[in-house]
Symmetry: C2
């Protein structure tokens, strides 16, 4: 691996001059510049990013800390972050926590000590509170809202999304709706349910709920439970698209027709929801916008922020698991 000092020697200039040529930080005599460039291309010299970031205290890195890389929602968000980051020359360092607070903290420390320029984090764990507040790099919390000052929040309007889901099923004529509540330690799941139940209260609809994790197998189980507990159910609000898919699967296996017998709505609008047969009616989050915004907040971190919370609107996407026809 050739170093800047070797390039300097071969081009008969000082390392400082080579640095100035590479970065265009100061005027360099044309003849010398050419010599330097020639040596660089002959030797294939690439500046060592580690040495650079040691001095600059910026590694051009965005840290991404997620509960699970396999979850399509996070994957789509990660993809949007990567796209935005890459366009500005930033790389993504990925950490998977499986919701473990220990792993979250160590990922956070790790990324700070790597001179990351900012961290994008999805967590429900308030214990990392202190670390984040003392953190000198921006920390962006996506999808969820915690009570941590010093962080930025980027998420959808889950409350409104919950309302939209409830209203849509009611508009579709459902009389006995069951809401599958997501994990209530997650702020977005809480907000969705609050929006949902608000509408039900306004319209005097009886609240029928079951609890469920954001997990395919949990969705399979909870569907059985719904059918047993609420035999007259004709509408199901799933806590996310993955759970909606599992609900559909159980209903289909039992010969229950969707949307004829039971109507079904998901949440997130992961790209999968459109690939399925039948296509899933769902509440769309602007996943790409959320990811892009989070990345931008880090890339433009020197700009003074007027807001610390960015809320995006959700949108009802009517497809094939409910009866009203959408635009499509």
């Amino acid at each position: 691996m050739v170093s800047i000092r070797e390039v300097a020697k071969l081009a008969q200039v000082s390392p400082a001059t080579v640095s100035r040529v590479i970065n265009g930080t100061a005027k360099v005599d044309d003849e010398k510049k050419e010599r330097v460039l020639r040596v660089i291309s002959e030797t294939g010299f690439v500046p060592n990013e580690v040495a650079r970031s040691l001095f600059k205290k910026s590694a051009k890195i965005i840290g991404l800390i997620l509960p699970s890389i396999k979850n399509p929602f996070f994957t789509q968000m990660a993809s949007a972050i990567e796209k935005t980051a890459d366009a500005s020359g930033y790389r993504l360092v990925l950490c998977n926590t499986g919701n473990s607070p220990d792993k979250e903290l160590s990922a956070l420390q790790m990324l700070t000590s790597m001179n990351a320029d900012g961290i994008i984090l999805t967590t429900s764990n308030e214990q990392i509170h202190e670390y984040i507040e003392n953190c000198k790099i921006p920390v962006i919390i996506t999808d969820r809202r915690l009570a941590i000052d010093g962080a930025c929040y980027v998420h959808s309007d889950h409350y409104e999304g919950g309302r939209q889901a409830a209203e849509h099923l009611i508009d579709c004529g459902c009389k006995s709706i069951v809401c599958i509540k997501g994990p209530q330690d997650i702020s977005s799941a809480r907000a969705r349910y609050e929006g949902y139940s608000k509408v039900c209260n306004e319209k005097n609809i009886k609240l029928q709920t079951v609890d469920c994790d954001y997990d395919f197998n949990a969705g399979l189980e909870v569907t059985e439970k719904i059918l047993k507990k609420f035999p007259d159910v004709d509408g199901i609000v799933a806590c996310n698209d993955i759970v909606a898919i599992s609900v559909y699967k159980v209903l289909h296996k039992k010969g229950i027709k969707v949307p004829e017998d039971i109507q079904l709505i998901g949440f997130d609008n992961i790209s999968l929801s459109e690939l399925l047969t039948p296509e899933l009616t769902t509440i769309a989050q602007p996943i790409e916008e959320i990811g892009a915004k989070a990345a931008e907040l880090i890339i433009n971190r020197d700009e003074e922020l007027t807001e610390r919370e960015f809320t995006f609107e959700t949108e009802l996407i009517i497809r094939e698991t409910t009866k009203l026809k959408g635009d499509r």
Copy 2:
């Protein structure tokens, strides 16, 4: 950010001693060790990973260069890589290339200059040849086989997978099978097709093929084409699960029953293929094993390699889109 020199000053020892305490690289007087540990916990000192990796020439980083982060196959592989990496204290730096050779090369250079300990790469681009052969860190090419010396290869036996798919549809009684060939510049797609066509030749089955990209929309189009060109088709071998899903979607929309009218088999066994209704019959690649193996090759890079190519077996997973019943 407190440095090792500050810690040393506060603990009244030299930076060298602090380093020895942190890393356990040499015996340190118990009393001093305790002083150092106390100062570390009081100040919240975390060693700067960048300075460390500048000296050590290892950043404890695995670079992962993929055509697309959204593709579930790669996501599942990435997840397995992350799991293996994390267990040994390595982080993942993710680069998305969208198959652009320029981006591949710059990601490769970038990762080398970041002192990455190794790179896992999925590409069909032979142009990066020279760079990889001169690369001083291990480069592992997954899923595909190129003609690049100096790289390691980790993949499934796609040829055998192609054979299994063909044999299964024949066993299921298909008389007019259409094979959707994947992009033939990708070695694994070629191998699958070779395995497939070998079986057809052995059994005197007419080869009926169409070309298709690994893409959902391409799958929708190609299905229309199949129905037009081969109206008596009763079996379809899709080039991967995503395309199989899109094929199913078109067939379903046209009222064609799967597997009654047309049987369908995918490739990969992404977790999605089991979530669907109907569940997809497919040729499984051991995605997690491939990812883990690739990561291990980097983590254990000092061990002498006896092989440069690691081939995993594929497995026929019979589910609901073909007529023979599997174990389940």
